[in-house]
């Protein structure tokens, strides 16, 4: 049976009215609940919330992670963090900023650049963020401020960690330094990570591994009183410290190289040819990186920046020098690869070389010439005429192709440091583009002895000689040896990045060139014979002496090299590797205005190799 329901209009209206009343009462009760809640918040607990909002403001602070430490390959500490005290101002809590700073100036020394930095930060940061007015306060300054502290609401001393480089100038060109973040840098950094940090890695390892070294910030929520002083900590999330970096650098080599360079301006780069790890990277003169930490004074900076010796200039990476005769082994390999000469066929060296079109001779360094000479001897004795001929036979296109594609000259090596320069391997196109001039045969001939437009960096030279020592095997040069996780303590090694090996089509090319380089040191006719004295391992090398100015002896009335003003003297170069049969170290030395490669540069290389290999032989080194 179907039940039929009949509509009852009156009943429905009555029922609807009842329901409306129910929902209206329910709604009223709920809105009343909100009103009671508001009454509770705004009337009963007003002072509590007013305190939170006004004086007892909850403040979230970022906790800066301790920056990762940097060690050398033997675990010698190169960069550490030291406690340091800075004077912070919370601008919104200071009634009269200028008067306060003036009063503070009577207690602590405030330099003009401190003020400049402070006012620059003031523009970018929020008024409730503490800003450093002074870093690195002395103990007396801390004590005198502590006495007067109650007179300075919104000003407080904060303990921070400041970077310190125990070895100072010895490692400055490797490590770089940290300094105050500039407003430009702030824009490109993650604000969450850098809000509460005033320091960032600028150049060197500090710059290129900034993200690893920085770590990850923690947070701390604090309750502060009306003056902005912390009353209590509400919550705390610890920061993740930055990773510790282990560099492939051996500070003993750094020190030996720096000492050996002495007062000369120059660079020494040592590489482990088996994996591309840098053992030393020295550029002199150097500077003390510690003066950059916490902001360098304009005076000190001007002094460094305007010094004629350019201590801030990293010659190892950025110095571009004519390689001189050190390019000869590379050109010999090119000539063998392209088959343009028979290495054992003698060539006549009368001491000069003529181009058919040019009446002026290209001279050999040895007056009277080397006589009949073959390729190995031409390398050993550094015969210029032989390599003028080689250059002419190869032609600039093949030289350019070989040096760039096989050995990577003319382009960055890819080292894990910023600012590396390319060097120049000239070509007719390069000359047209950069000098708007056609290519001449004369340009080509002098490339044969590493002069003219050819420019290399000391790092490229070291990288190149490492490849020769390994018979063509190449690696990307790098400084990072291992990364240490500060929390777990696990140290993970980086893996060397191999590059395609140098292709050589002539069967015994490597043997010929390596033997010739060995003879440079070992035979009495070799140009670097002097450094073989007392060596307990075999050395392969090549000297180079590069003209800085196109001068002929006697232009200024001088008779000897030593009579020439120092800044016009030749650059001295030396490339070497050792031991010859099982190379462990490859070195490039460039000494600006050092005179002869054999006399100035070669002994420096020997000292660096001694430092490394003799200690290794004695088993003192923990190096792999």
């Amino acid at each position: 049976m179907v039940r039929i329901r009949i509509r009852n209009e009156w009943l429905e209206r009555h029922q609807f009215a009842t329901r409306i009343v129910i929902v209206a009462i329910t709604g009223l009760v709920l809105l009343l609940a909100v009103a009671i809640r508001l009454f509770y918040l705004q009337i009963i607990n007003h002072s509590y919330y007013a305190n939170l909002a006004e004086g007892n403001r909850l403040r979230t602070e970022q906790v800066t992670p301790p920056r990762g430490l940097i060690y050398d390959r033997n675990g010698v500490l190169l960069a550490e963090n030291r406690p340091s005290y800075e004077l912070d101002i919370i601008p919104e809590q200071v009634a009269n900023l200028q008067a306060t700073i003036k009063a503070l100036g009577k207690i602590v020394a405030i330099r003009p650049q401190d003020l400049k930095q402070f006012y620059e930060l003031l523009k970018t940061k929020k008024p409730f963020q503490p800003l450093p007015l002074r870093t690195n306060l002395s103990d007396t300054e801390i004590a005198s401020f502590a006495v007067d502290r109650q007179n300075f609401p919104g000003v407080d001393i904060r303990a921070t960690l400041a970077r310190y480089y125990p070895l100072g100038p010895v490692t400055s060109h490797v490590l770089g330094y940290t300094g105050i973040i500039s407003p430009d840098e702030l824009a490109s950094l993650d604000p969450k990570q850098y809000n509460n940090t005033s320091q960032v890695g600028k150049v060197g390892i500090e710059g290129s591994y900034e993200s690893l070294l920085h770590g990850s910030v923690g947070t701390r929520q604090v309750e502060t009183d009306a003056q902005g002083h912390v009353v209590r900590e509400v919550s705390y999330t610890p920061p993740v410290p930055g990773s510790n970096l282990y560099l492939s650098i051996d500070v003993r080599l750094q020190e030996a190289a720096e000492k050996a360079l002495g007062d000369y301006n120059g660079a020494v780069v040592a590489i482990d040819p088996r994996n591309g790890e840098l053992l030393a990277l020295v550029s002199t003169p150097s500077f003390d990186p510690n003066q950059f930490v916490g902001g360098i004074s304009p005076n000190d900076f001007a002094k460094l920046n305007t010094s004629p010796n350019q201590p801030l200039f990293n010659r190892a990476l950025r110095g571009q020098y004519p390689p001189g005769s050190t390019i000869k082994p590379f050109l010999a390999l090119a000539a063998l690869d392209y088959g343009v000469v028979n290495p054992f066929k003698d060539l006549m060296c009368p001491g000069y070389f003529y181009l058919p079109s040019n009446p002026n001779p290209y001279r050999d360094w040895k007056r009277g010439g080397h006589g009949e000479i073959d390729m190995p001897n031409a390398i050993t004795q550094s015969c210029d005429v032989y390599f003028y001929t080689v250059a002419l036979k190869l032609g600039i296109d093949r030289i350019h192709d070989y040096l760039t594609t096989q050995f990577g000259f003319g382009e960055p090596t890819g080292i894990d440091l910023m600012g590396e320069r390319d060097g120049v391997v000239p070509s007719p196109e390069w000359k047209r583009k950069n000098l708007h001039a056609p290519w001449y045969l004369g340009d080509l001939v002098i490339v044969g002895i590493g002069q003219g437009y050819l420019l290399v960096t000391p790092l490229q030279l070291a990288d190149g000689v490492a490849a020769i020592s390994m018979h063509g095997q190449r690696f990307v040069p790098h400084l990072l040896h291992a990364i240490g996780d500060p929390l777990s303590g696990i140290i993970s090694d980086t893996t060397p990045r191999a590059l395609p090996a140098v292709q050589e089509t002539y069967p015994n090319a490597w043997k010929i060139v390596v033997q010739a380089m060995k003879n440079v040191v070992e035979t009495w006719k070799g140009t670097a014979h002097a450094i073989s004295v007392g060596a307990r391992y075999t050395i392969g090398g090549k000297t180079g002496t590069a003209q800085v100015y196109r001068k002929r002896l006697g232009t200024f009335g001088e008779e000897n090299e030593s009579d020439i003003p120092k800044q016009l003297r030749d650059n001295a170069l030396f490339i070497a590797f050792a031991p010859v049969d099982n190379p462990r170290i490859a070195v490039a030395v460039v000494v600006e205005h050092g005179g002869g490669g054999a006399s100035t540069a070669a002994p420096i290389a020997r000292k660096v190799m001694d430092t490394y290999l003799l200690q290794e032989i004695a088993g003192k080194s923990s190096a792999p």
């Binding site: 329901r5 429905e12 009215a17 809105l31 918040l41 705004q42 939170l52 919550s235």
Partner: protein, 378 residues
């Protein structure tokens, strides 16, 4: 029975010019006045909440003017016409909603917008009106209260859109649609034992629902239960909002004053948390004035529903009135910390346009119900 469009009101001669204009435009004077006052108050609060940004106030003014025009337009449509179109609007809304889920725009992590080439619409907004319309349409010829057999279709027409919106995910809007539909059914006289049973079912499925919630939705509920759980993240809203309100005191810190809103301590101060700005700047008195104004508007809307003379208008009017209540209660409850944070704006005051248009269309319907009453021949 015969119907006529003759109004119930006093003889024509007794009307002032204003009253005649309102009659001609099918508007309800008290409701319109309250809405205008509310909108003006909203603009003043917005100016204080946006750090004195005239651009925001200008854009909001444009939106308000537009939505008042929508109100005016909707008021001219008779309830009978609305009733005839209810299932179609519902169907269109449902199709658009499905389409949005399939290929809509993703904004702030949720898929809510549908681009129709020239204009972008939010189908979930349509559902805020279409669902109560559908419920009222379905019930208008049936004897009330609804029996067991009618419960299933009713549940379908409410819960399908609610679930579709919830998975967008837009929990706030889903809640508003649910409340509009549920109030419609409740006002139709749903029996208490059914309500009790539904409450029981809800208690059972809550844990299951929890299982299907998005991570951030769960987090919101957990943080509501304990704001200190994440004082720097999601709990920050609740803590800062309560500090803003509480520090306002009885009279507030004054218009355009107040560290919480002016120093950016309070997040989303011009949108969902604008009530906290009012609480900080105008104090308990200001917050109460606004609450009372909302109370008046809701009451007036309920009276219009009560006076309506057919089932459809009554149910629709009542549901829309209570949907407005839901808006106000959830927003003020969340800002003052007695409800979890759900994305529900404060009607006519929060900065933003999409919900404004729907709200005013709803008021337009109420105006229409008010002015298109028929005299029942007795």
């Amino acid at each position: 029975m015969t119907f006529s469009d003759v109004a119930y009101s006093p003889a024509r001669g007794d009307l002032t010019f204003g009253e005649r204009l309102l009659r001609r435009l099918n508007l309800d004077g008290p409701l319109l006045l309250a809405l205008v006052v509310l909108a003006l108050m909203g603009l003043a609060i917005l100016y204080g909440a946006s750090n004195q940004d005239p651009g925001m106030v200008y854009r909001q003014t444009i939106r308000l003017v537009f939505s008042f025009i929508v109100l005016l337009a909707v008021a001219q449509i008779s309830p009978q016409f609305l009733r005839l179109w209810s299932p179609w609007l519902f169907a269109i809304g449902l199709v658009l909603l499905l389409f949005t889920l399939h290929s809509g725009h993703i904004g702030r992590g949720a898929q809510r917008w549908l681009s129709l080439g020239f204009v972008r619409i939010q189908p979930s907004e349509i559902m805020k009106i279409a669902v109560p319309m559908m419920v009222a349409w379905y019930l208008h010829e049936k004897p009330l209260p609804p029996n067991w057999k009618q419960l299933l279709p009713l549940a379908a027409m409410v819960f399908i859109p609610v679930l579709l919106v919830a998975i967008e995910p837009d929990l706030g809007t889903a809640l508003l649609i649910l409340s509009a539909g549920a109030f419609g059914v409740f006002l139709a006289g749903l029996r208490w034992r059914v309500i009790l049973l539904l409450a029981l079912v809800l208690a059972i499925i809550t844990p299951i629902l929890w299982h299907f919630m998005h991570g951030y939705q769960r987090e919101r509920v957990l943080i509501f239960l304990n704001p200190q759980r994440d004082p720097l993240g999601a709990g920050y809203h609740i803590i800062q909002s309560q500090i803003a309100i509480g520090s306002g005191g009885l009279f507030g810190k004054g218009w355009l004053h107040g560290s919480q809103s002016q120093l950016d301590f309070l997040p989303e101060s011009s949108t969902d948390f604008i009530y906290a700005v009012l609480g900080e700047q105008f104090g308990f008195i200001g917050a109460m004035v606004l609450l009372v104004l909302y109370g008046f508007i809701i009451a007036r809307a309920l009276i219009i529903a009560l006076r309506a003379q057919d089932t459809y208008s009554r149910l629709l009017g009542g549901a829309l009135s209570m949907a407005l209540f839901t808006y106000v209660f959830i927003n003020s409850g969340m800002v003052s910390g007695i409800l979890p944070v759900a994305g529900v704006p404060l009607p006519l005051v929060s900065y933003g346009g999409s919900s404004l248009v729907t709200l005013m269309a709803g008021f337009g319907i109420l105006m229409s119900i008010h002015s298109h009453r028929k005299l029942v021949a007795s």
